[in-house]
């Protein structure tokens, strides 16, 4: 891998000389050669660090490979059979689905609302937009600290607020009840996803036809009608991208869930990312972890297909 990096500096230099008198066919061949040379460093890195590990992990899904079996041993669909009969792992899929749906819906709803608000002209808008990005750029450990402290059962500000408002009679142990822990990890994820989603929606709103909107208003359309008949239809393609990106991101998310709950209490927040990590690095059951991981990839594929098709429209 280290060699691949050095290549980009010196290797291709000599080969990249172009003669202006080259023939047409020669130009095409040269374009191909130079194109591949420019691509080579990234491609080698990609194959070494992403593609090979990915394919290897898929292969390991069909093996027994754990503490007692130091060399992977092919067992066909054995791991998948074990998965189908394990209520724990099947439960992980359900937990993941709940988490992904709630976190994506929350982020889209708030991201869209916030974009619509920040699209309205008012003093200080630019500063507010810039500030809104902060939750997104914070390190995941910091995000987990921030919300862990807010949700703290004894000294957390949320319990203090809810008890003094009379919403609840006694402080809730948010992170040690299953519903509370799920609420906490969803709110945390929504919090730092809103800025990104907002940015996508704001970019989409910029191409909105203002004259058309004015015309509709002159015809007597009210705010809600404008939103329903003009703004939302215009944002539909962006909406699709945002939802797909949100689903992909949420299916994969690990850091703040691990830091806040570690998958607990018991298994209440053990989403697939946590499940795979625990199987691999706590129990050293690599075969099983890879098998769960393969099914995990399968859940991402439909969203990925939409995303890729969209990205490559112009290429």
């Amino acid at each position: 891998m280290a060699f691949a990096v050095q290549d980009s500096g010196k290797g291709p230099a000599a080969a990249l000389r172009v003669s202006p008198h080259a023939e047409r066919g020669g130009l095409k061949a040269r374009e191909r050669r130079v194109g591949w040379l420019f691509l080579a460093p990234a491609l080698i890195a990609f194959v070494a660090v992403i593609l090979v590990p990915f394919l290897r992990a898929l292969g390991l899904a069909f093996t027994r490979y754990d503490l007692q079996t130091p060399v992977p041993e092919f067992i066909g669909l054995g791991n998948f059979h074990a998965i189908l009969t394990s209520p724990e792992i099947l439960g992980s899929f359900v937990t993941t689905a709940i988490y992904v749906v709630l976190a994506t819906a929350g982020s889209v709803l708030l991201g869209l609302s916030w974009a619509l608000i920040l699209n309205q002209p008012f003093r200080g808008r630019a500063a507010l937009r810039a500030m809104s990005l902060i939750p997104w750029v914070l390190p995941s450990t910091v995000t987990a600290f921030v919300w862990g402290w807010i949700f703290n059962s004894r000294f957390g500000v949320l319990n203090a607020l809810l008890t003094s408002l009379g919403v609840i009679d006694y402080p809730t142990a948010w992170l040690s009840t299953s519903g509370g822990a799920m609420t906490a990890i969803v709110i945390t994820k929504v919090w730092f996803s809103v800025p990104l989603f907002m940015s996508f929606f704001l970019a989409g709103l910029q191409s909105l036809d203002k004259e058309q909107l004015e015309a509709a208003r002159v015809d007597g359309a009210h705010n809600l009608a404008l939103l329903r008949d003009h703004i939302l239809p215009h944002l539909k393609p962006v909406m699709l991208v945002v939802i797909v990106l949100g689903v992909i991101g949420n299916l994969q998310h690990f850091d703040t869930i691990f830091a806040l709950t570690g998958g607990g209490p018991v298994r209440a927040t053990s989403v697939l990312s946590i499940e795979v990590y625990r199987r691999a690095f706590d129990q050293w059951d690599i075969g099983m972890a890879s098998a769960v991981g393969l099914l995990w990839v399968a859940t991402i594929l439909p969203a990925a297909w939409f995303y890729l098709r969209h990205l490559l429209k112009g290429a």
Binding site: A42, I50, N152, H222, A303
Partner: protein
């Protein structure tokens, strides 16, 4: 956009704005003021809304104990190297995709972009033994190389969309003058692409600076630990929770990335949302 001339419309707008702003910014406010409260004030059932007595104790503790500074230094080394490596790789690949036409180009592009959906956690399972076999487990180099996973696909795509907008005529003209392809790229294309290069560097930096999963798995020893796992282990371990310390360390750990964004956010958002909105 919306017509806010009626009092009702204004009230609804203000209410929505207030609620979402509260949700987005209150946690940050709470983080900052909690760091400046002394322990006596911090651990109260009904908390004070601002520090009645300003205390810098959590900050002086964090710096005196030393581990935070060590974590910071490690994160800085790893994140800068990973970002530089990622930018270098993505630069040439993005240029190749944007300005050259050859068989296989589209296929490689699809492959590279699809990598974004390989779960990082799954890749880690087989990166771990590979890194171990190479003798790179518990080394900064191993972590730096692994961070290619996070940022390379999107970085390449960001640079590809940027380079696509650089007019081909200036490249053709330089070619007609007999300049080599590398020279054209370095002296003509790169200088007009500084915003994109900075954006991609920052993107790579952010991923590595903010990561927890890879850092806590591939680095074992305390002296090489980066911020993510370092802070988690120092402040919220099984023995005790030092929330004041955690808040102070959080401010220190967030400062570099927040400052970088404060200066570069406009470029950045353009880069990240590029191509997704047409």
């Amino acid at each position: 956009m919306f017509d806010l001339s009626t009092p009702l419309a204004r009230a609804v707008f203000a209410l929505m704005m207030g609620l979402i702003a509260l949700f987005l910014f209150f946690p940050i406010y709470w983080l900052v003021i909690s760091a400046f409260k002394g322990n006596a004030e911090l651990y109260q059932i009904i908390p004070t809304l601002y520090p009645h007595k300003l205390s810098l104790g959590h900050f002086t503790n964090a710096f005196e104990q030393g581990h935070l500074l060590r974590n910071l230094r490690n994160s800085l080394i790893v994140s800068c190297s990973a970002a530089a490596l990622n930018t270098l790789l993505a630069l040439y690949a993005g240029y190749s995709f944007a300005k050259f036409r050859y068989a296989g180009r589209r296929g490689v592009m699809i492959l590279l972009l699809s990598a974004q959906v390989f779960p990082f956690g799954l890749l880690l399972i087989s990166i771990y033994p590979i890194i171990t076999d190479l003798g790179l487990i518990d080394t900064r180099l191993g972590l730096i190389l692994s961070y290619i996973v996070f940022a390379l696909p999107v970085s390449t795509y960001m640079l590809y969309s940027y380079f696509s907008q650089v007019p081909s005529e200036i490249i053709e003209a330089a070619r007609a003058d007999g300049a080599s392809e590398l020279r054209i790229f370095h002296t003509i294309v790169m200088p007009v692409s500084i915003p994109a290069v900075v954006t991609v560097f920052l993107y790579g930096f952010m991923w590595s600076w903010n990561d927890l999963l890879y850092a806590m798995t591939l680095i074992v020893s305390e002296e090489k630990r980066t911020l993510g796992p370092g802070m988690l282990l120092s402040y919220l371990n099984e023995v005790n929770s030092d929330w004041g310390g955690a808040m102070a360390a959080s401010i220190v750990a967030s400062a570099p990335i927040v400052l970088a964004f404060a200066f570069l956010q406009r470029w950045f958002i353009q880069g990240v949302t590029a191509g997704s909105v047409k």
